[in-house]
């Protein structure tokens, strides 16, 4: 979900830096492609919004359909549940990337069946699918549980995420981990009330320690030449110089 104002700001930045391509991604992010490294801190400064984590072994943006308000088929509020799930997960690092989606009915517009974590609204509740994929491996996720509310679905998704964070091997996608560990073992760990509570507690500790906007570092670089080469300067520094 974006506001017209945010879209305008993104368009202004694309114009200002003459970025060669603007593209909507499958994860419903907006790509600004072809920027030079030196431009990045200044671009993020002008955008004034966190990046969508399209890189690193971390949780990606949550894809959703339009949900119930503007779709005659919608059974569950995919927008609100998706936003809440994304807020709950953003910034967490994981053994490999974690794609997820929330879709408002089994027509599956948000492709939740083929995500690492997928929530699907059904009559009377939500289904949680895990271990789906639609990249070099195509796999429909396994149904982990069916629950009554979006809140419960998010809790189970987070418990699953934490179990994967703890048990998944480096560079092992959720489907690989699921096939190695087995859906029954995962179900037992994630659905047992005590073990689920423990997973959620450890998730909370990890979440409290992470920063959903890695580009805040632009204001206090780890190293003065973090964003420049030997023969170039960060454009943010140049702007600061011009104003000083």
């Amino acid at each position: 979900v974006v506001t017209p104002d945010e879209l305008r700001r993104i368009a202004d930045v694309a114009d200002k830096y003459a970025l060669p391509m603007v593209k909507i991604t499958g994860g419903q992010r907006i790509d600004l492609l072809g920027a030079r490294k030196e431009q990045l801190p200044a671009i993020w400064e002008d955008l004034g919004m966190p990046s969508g984590y399209a890189y690193s072994k971390a949780v990606r943006t949550v894809k959703t359909c339009v949900g119930t308000d503007f779709c005659r088929f919608g059974l569950g509020d995919a927008i609100d549940v998706g936003i809440e799930l994304e807020r709950a997960m953003e910034g967490l690092h994981t053994p490999h990337k974690v794609k997820s989606a929330v879709t408002g009915c089994p027509r599956n517009c948000a492709e939740a069946y083929v995500k690492d974590i997928g929530l699907v609204a059904v009559e009377g509740g939500w289904e949680i699918y895990v271990g789906g994929a639609a990249g070099s491996t195509v796999r429909k996720g396994d149904l982990l549980a069916t629950v009554g509310t979006g809140e419960e679905a998010i809790r189970i998704a987070l418990a699953f995420l934490q179990h994967y964070r703890e048990r998944g091997e480096h560079l092992e996608r959720a489907y690989g981990y699921l096939e190695r560990v087995g859906i029954d073992a995962v179900r037992e760990a994630v659905l047992d009330p005590d073990r689920q509570a423990a997973l959620i507690e450890r998730y909370r500790i990890a979440k409290a320690a992470c920063d959903p906007d890695p580009w805040r570092e632009r204001a206090a670089p780890v190293h003065p030449r973090q964003f420049s080469e030997l023969d170039s300067e960060s454009e943010l520094d140049l702007v600061a110089l011009a104003h000083s």
Binding site: R225, E229, L230, D231, S232, L238
Partner: protein, 119 residues
């Protein structure tokens, strides 16, 4: 972007026969330990790395698909290309687990400044 000019001023204690071929490319503080930064010298983009035991310089473009080797992760005197994971020894330029080679250049530290000579 204003390019920082690379001077070709002669450092005092270099061999006079070869001195003209050395280019000042920056200061030691420009490159953090175990990282690389690139610089253009004689029309070539060269990656300069700071290692625990000194300095290394290789062609910045990965021979595989042109990836920026200066942005690669440095470990065990090797750099791993950020694009497709090809790994090169920073001393010899030889690819690890493959037959490719990147050109290795000379880089010296003098009075806090970095001087480079293209091979």
């Amino acid at each position: 972007v204003t390019a920082r000019h690379c001077s070709t001023v002669v450092p005092g204690d270099f061999d006079s026969a070869t001195v003209a071929s050395w280019t000042r490319v920056g200061t030691v503080d420009d490159v953090p330990l175990l990282e690389g930064r690139s610089v253009e010298v004689e029309g070539r983009r060269i990656a300069v790395f700071r290692l625990p035991g000194g300095w290394a310089a290789i062609d910045a473009a990965c021979p595989h698909r042109g990836g920026p080797l200066q942005d690669g992760i440095v470990a065990d005197s090797c750099v791993t290309c950020p694009l497709h994971g090809h790994r090169f020894d920073l001393g010899s330029g030889a690819q690890q687990g493959g037959g490719a080679v990147v050109a290795v250049h000379e880089v010296h530290e003098r009075a806090g400044e970095l001087w480079l000579r293209v091979a």
